[in-house]
């Protein structure tokens, strides 16, 4: 009985409503934070940070965004890439138009811009549901991608339409632009992601979160007990897009440094959706696990043959990688349709009963 709550009495509702009511969870969380803020920057190679950890964090943020919408509010969206693009281009325009603006402010403002765009594309959700809505949100995806590709103002009229993160510093460190070290970019990303993840957790536990879930689980009943679908759905779209927008801004500024609209293509939307589903719909933790899975597994698979000393032609290796990735998705979906986060929860339940099976 390693993982049990017995003996941990809550004497008031405030304690009961803490984010991590269990002592074990609090410890795990503390350890994770120490690892994230201290161990990783001290030990990770540049490749690790640049190719694995930073994208993981950024995608986790986007996945949280989509999870708020799809997992909590039940509105599946395939426009994530588009909303990320809004954030990215907004951040680029803000940063280049107001060179002295603090980058954190730039990121947040670009999230706000994305939120407004999200609300606009969320309006059809009041009438359209399920897969119809999912496909309809592709309109946002394609339209936004087209817009940023077409309207030269968004990329300051440079001939190829690529935006490049200008160098900016904070606390005396370069945090974006080519001269920013991977560690600096990692830290700034981490701070943004951790804070926003916490905010997301709070939102989902409050009445906004409950109204989203109510709409998700049974929209008619929700309306009848007094939840306004308009408010719930549009706020979900707005906040979700805010997260995606910030993720898009980070995508350019702390990860790739330079992108064209193709970087926010529909594949990104799908990727984020995979993360949410594989990780677990309606779980913030799941967003992290899913993002880790989807960003890390292909990289592991790419590097595995070499690691084990096989020398495969790269095309064959890629094909295998794609196949194995597909199989893994199916495998995990079958093992636990509710996502890896649920697997973790079941593991906890088992630990609680341990050594008894039931």
């Amino acid at each position: 009985m390693l993982y049990r709550e017995s003996g941990q009495y809550k004497t008031n509702y405030a304690d009961d409503q803490a984010i991590f009511p269990l002592k074990q969870d609090r410890w795990l969380m503390a350890i994770a934070l120490v690892v994230a803020f201290v161990v990783i920057p001290l030990t990770s190679s540049e490749y690790m940070l640049q190719a694995v950890i930073i994208p993981f964090l950024i995608f986790a943020l986007a996945a949280i965004g989509l999870n708020l919408l799809a997992g909590y509010c039940g509105q599946i969206s395939l426009g994530t890439g588009g909303f990320m693009a809004v954030g990215a281009y907004a951040a680029y325009k803000l940063a280049t138009s107001f060179p002295d603006l603090n980058m954190i402010v730039v990121f947040l403002l670009s999230g706000v811009v994305a939120a407004f765009v999200g609300i606009m594309f969320g309006i059809p959700s009041l009438r359209i549901k399920g897969f119809y809505l999912a496909v309809a949100t592709l309109a946002a995806q394609f339209f936004l991608q087209w817009l940023f590709n077409k309207v030269a103002w968004f990329y300051n009229y440079n001939p190829s339409g690529t935006i490049t993160a200008p160098p900016r510093e904070m606390f005396g460190f370069m945090i974006t632009g080519p001269a920013a070290t991977a560690e600096a970019r990692y830290m700034i990303t981490l701070v943004v992601v951790v804070v926003l993840a916490l905010v997301a957790k709070n939102l989902t536990r409050g009445h906004i979160g409950r109204s989203w879930m109510a709409i998700r689980d049974m929209d008619i009943a929700a309306e009848i007990i007094g939840i306004r679908p308009l408010h719930a759905k549009l706020s979900a779209f707005a906040i979700s897009s805010f997260y995606c927008g910030v993720a898009g801004a980070l995508f350019v500024f702390t990860w790739l440094g330079s992108v064209e609209t193709e970087a926010f293509a529909i594949t990104v939307s799908f990727q984020v959706l995979f993360m949410v589903i594989i990780g677990g719909l309606g779980s913030i933790l799941g967003s992290f696990i899913g993002a880790a899975f989807i960003t890390a597994v292909p990289i592991l698979l790419t590097n595995a043959p070499q690691f084990f000393g096989f020398n495969m032609p790269i095309d064959l290796q890629k094909h295998f990688e794609v196949m194995i990735f597909g199989v893994l998705i199916i495998f995990f979906v079958i093992v636990e349709p509710h996502g890896l986060a649920r697997l973790w929860q079941i593991a906890k339940e088992k630990l609680r009963l341990w050594p008894f099976p039931y």
Partner: protein, 271 residues
């Protein structure tokens, strides 16, 4: 019941686990004789539906597993058959909560019940007419989408649909739920008739104990995943505890629901 030969269905000591962690049935055994009507009684969450689903093999679709025990139908072990093989063999379940095909019309719903039948259109048509004669209300609703008909009408559709399979054994899960009183009687009359005229056997999970015991020949009482009592229907009906907890009678008289506020004896099975 005793171990005599003509048992249609015998469930032996099954244990069911959901999601690999939630243990719901803790060794349930029961038998349905050829041509019998057996009632399975018990409170909410006792595991009645689970028992029925493990018989019809619909458990797997809910991530449940029979981890122990065996289920025999006509002397043959059927634990590993697919639900449709069971239907072909004559075992069909009417699921709790209706489960109509919302986007099919009422008539189409009924016809899906005949999917496994091989005896030709005429026979199916005959049974369809029979179902309509049992449930005249459905005639008006023939072409409505099942998703739009009222709760009670859906219940009729679900039962009618099962009848269309011409089964030998029907597992009825809460047939009376949501039905108007006179219809409850009618449904049980139908059960009775099918049982007498066509020799169909029934295993019914039912909350409406008084009616169930009136029509059943034998009954089991399930609490918390265990059978706590069984016996002939009339014996059960005259048991004091059963009377109090399942029939709502105190000292031989029906008590008013208004009085429950003031005194309540809690059920305890100290078996």
């Amino acid at each position: 019941m005793s171990e005599d030969g003509n048992m249609l269905l015998s469930v032996k000591n099954i244990e069911v686990v959901y999601n690999h962690v939630i243990l719901v049935l803790k060794g349930v055994s029961l038998e349905v004789p050829e041509g019998g009507i057996v009632a399975l009684l018990g409170a909410n969450g006792a595991g009645k539906s689970t028992t029925l689903k493990s018989i019809s093999n619909l458990l797997r679709a809910e991530r449940g597993d029979v981890t122990k025990g065996t289920i025999e139908y006509m002397g043959e072990q059927v634990d590993s058959l697919t639900p449709n093989a069971l239907v072909s063999k004559g075992v069909i379940q009417v699921m709790e909560g209706r489960h109509c095909f919302e986007h099919l019309t009422v008539e189409e719903n009924l016809l899906t019940g005949s999917y496994t039948r091989k005896d030709g259109r005429a026979a199916v048509q005959r049974d369809l007419d029979m179902v309509y004669s049992y449930f005249p209300r459905l005639v008006d609703r023939q072409t409505s989408l099942a998703g739009y008909v009222s709760g009670g009408e859906q219940q009729m559709v679900a039962i009618g649909r099962a009848l269309m399979a011409k089964p030998k054994l029907i597992l009825l899960d809460e047939p009376s739920m949501g039905l108007a009183p006179q219809l409850v009687e009618e449904i049980f009359e139908i059960v009775h008739r099918l049982n007498k005229d066509e020799g169909v056997s029934f295993l019914l999970a039912e909350q409406n104990t008084s009616v169930a015991l009136r029509y059943a020949s034998y009954g089991y009482i399930l609490e918390n995943g265990r059978i706590v009592m069984d016996g002939d229907a009339d014996k059960l009906a005259s048991n004091e505890d059963v009377k109090e907890f399942y029939l709502g009678m105190a000292a031989g008289e029906r008590k008013s629901f208004r009085d429950v506020k003031h005194y309540r004896r809690r059920k305890r099975w100290l078996a």
